[in-house]
């Protein structure tokens, strides 16, 4: 894709016209500024977005957020709204890590309160919350127990004593997507997940202690109980091996099913089936169950964080859920009176007034945004989900020295509890886009407004 293939709509929105390729059913739109567009055209994310624009039933535009980068089939940072009557469901439009998402916990401490114990706090979090390759959790579930988690999500975690009913009020969909049905999740997927609840895993997943360094919207911040210098905790993880196996199983199944529906797609990773088909309906039930596993996972991690918090700071120290959002999921939502199935892969729901959680890299900043009306008009209620990678993990490992990185983070006042230097290097700040610029685009486009900015104090990762 060349920059001249895109038409500028305004400073933060560019369009690839439907005439760009004969099989496009709608145009493709990219929210970005001109400087980031130069970076975006350097990988294949926009070719992938054009491929998304060919999906049966897609409405208005295939949309990319400013953090867009190349994924498998769908670009990461992609949104596609599909007419469920005539269109398809594509597991690749949700991603392998079903309901990968972010949860923010609000503490009643300031930076000064935790400074004396920050290392101990980071260490306690690392002890309470298993992370890294192959680390199982503290809870091993029987098949029946697991099925209840897949049905009831965070609610089941709370019933098992890992939180309070009040927690559920602050989670997207109250931590439980319905309808769901665990019987459409394979035994292999269940086996992969049975000991992974309450674990972060590896890759770009983390638990992070942050301090609020800037409040952009005092009224919104007050409504959410946020103030400058307050400490918050971010949790970024998803459905672990269970979700990956569900995606693997159903992409395979849909590749086999497509010929009978006469569906032709330009990339196998876009494998899909009509929403109303047997495969489509079963995948939706499986996806919802896997999403519930992820909500329960973040609930158990919250319980671990709370144990660490009270161990180091006393029983009056609180961690309340501010919000929890999925950024890899498909949901039925109504736009202009029409029910659509909105695929979000590396994109966050941003309904007006809803908190939008945007983790940056571990050395820069993260943002709390609030959805705006523009999201409903233009992006099917969606915003960006993070900074977006610009450097592959392999490239990061080649270019960045782990010891130097750890020293640099220390100098910035950031404690890093990492299972391996390799894991740390893969997530170095320079592997990501400028999160300030990414958030600037969605704010200027009227998709979501800035409420608060977080700076990292300690990061725990695999």
């Amino acid at each position: 894709m060349r920059k001249q293939d895109l038409h500028r709509i305004h400073d933060n929105l560019w369009e690839i016209p439907q005439t760009h390729r004969g099989d496009m059913r709608v145009p493709a739109r990219v929210y970005t500024n001109e400087r980031m567009l130069e970076q975006i055209v350097s990988d294949r994310s926009l070719e992938q977005l054009v491929n998304v624009a060919t999906l049966p039933g897609i409405q208005r535009y295939a949309i990319a957020m400013p953090d867009v980068h190349e994924g498998y089939g769908f670009p990461i940072g992609g949104v596609a709204a599909i007419d469920p009557g005539e269109g398809v469901i594509s597991p690749g439009g949700i991603g392998y890590d079903i309901n990968c998402g972010v949860r923010v916990l609000r503490s009643n401490q300031t930076l000064d309160d935790i400074k004396p114990v920050i290392r101990k706090l980071a260490h306690s979090l690392a002890r309470e919350i298993p992370s890294g390759v192959g680390r199982g959790g503290n809870l091993t579930l029987t098949k029946d127990d697991l099925d209840r988690v897949l049905r009831d999500g965070a609610k089941r975690a709370v019933e098992l004593g890992h939180g309070t009913p009040e927690d559920l009020r602050h989670i997207e969909s109250e931590g439980r997507i319905t309808p769901n049905d665990p019987k459409y999740i394979s035994d292999d997927a269940k086996q992969r997940g049975h000991d992974q609840l309450g674990t972060i895993g590896s890759g770009n997943h983390f638990v992070e202690i942050d301090v609020i360094d800037t409040i952009f919207d005092a009224d919104a911040a007050q409504t959410l109980g946020l103030d400058e210098n307050q400490i918050v905790v971010q949790i970024h993880t998803g459905s672990r091996g269970l979700g990956h196996q569900v995606a693997t199983d159903w992409i395979r199944s849909m590749i086999k099913a497509m010929p009978k529906y006469g569906i032709h797609i330009p990339d196998r990773e876009l494998a899909c089936a009509p929403v109303q088909s047997d495969e489509g309906q079963k995948y939706l039930l499986a996806m919802a169950s896997a999403a519930n596993f992820a909500f329960a996972n973040r609930q158990l991690i919250t319980a671990g964080a709370r144990r660490a918090w009270s161990h180091e700071l006393g029983t009056s120290a609180r961690l309340d859920i501010l919000y929890d959002v999925a950024h890899n999921v498909a949901k039925f939502e109504e736009y202009d009176g029409k029910l659509l199935l909105v695929h979000r892969k590396g994109a966050t729901r941003a309904f007006p007034g809803q908190p939008v959680l945007i983790p940056g890299s571990m050395g820069t900043a993260s943002y709390l945004l609030m959805g705006q009306d523009g999201a409903m008009r233009e992006t099917f209620g969606s915003s960006c989900h993070g900074a977006g990678r610009v450097m592959s993990r392999s490239a990061a490992k080649q270019k960045i020295n782990g010891h130097e990185l750890r020293a640099r983070l220390e100098k910035m006042g950031i404690v890093a509890e990492a299972g391996s230097l390799k894991g740390l290097v893969e997530e170095a700040p320079e592997a990501y886009k400028d999160v300030d610029a990414v958030v600037g685009v969605v704010a200027q486009a009227g998709i979501a407004k800035r409420v608060a900015r977080f700076k990292p104090v300690a990061v725990i990762k695999g």
Partner: protein, 121 residues
């Protein structure tokens, strides 16, 4: 994680894929020898290879095993019957979450078969 594999024969290509996966996952072997057999079919050879390697990966995760050799009772463009041999693994050094179809395209040219494979890590 992307890597290119090649072999003179289709069987060799599939065996190379298993060897590459096992090497990349860095299993901490224990000495218990294990074996597994299964059958697969797919709509084309590329899907057959990716589905085959996904099946191997799933078994690694579910059974805590890693595989060092594969024998095919049959293998054609659209189906296979395979027997894997390997050892129990206490842990893996790398977390391979999925085998993807991204960039995969099994091609036969003069000199043999090749494809790119991309693992989700």
């Amino acid at each position: 994680m992307r890597f290119r594999i090649a072999s003179e024969t289709l069987e060799g290509l599939f065996a190379e894929a298993v060897a590459a996966l096992t090497e990349f996952m860095q299993p901490a072997f224990i000495d218990d020898v294990v074996s597994a057999s299964f059958e697969l079919d797919a709509i084309d050879t590329t899907s057959l290879l990716v589905d085959f390697l996904s099946e191997v990966l799933t078994r690694c995760h579910v059974r805590h095993e890693a595989y060092e050799s594969v024998v095919f009772a049959s293998l054609d463009a659209l189906s296979l019957r395979a027997s894997l041999r390997g050892r129990k693994a206490r842990a893996f050094g790398e977390d391979v979450k999925a085998v993807t179809y991204h960039e995969a395209e099994v091609v036969q040219r003069e000199g043999g078969w090749s494809t790119m494979l991309v693992l989700d890590i």
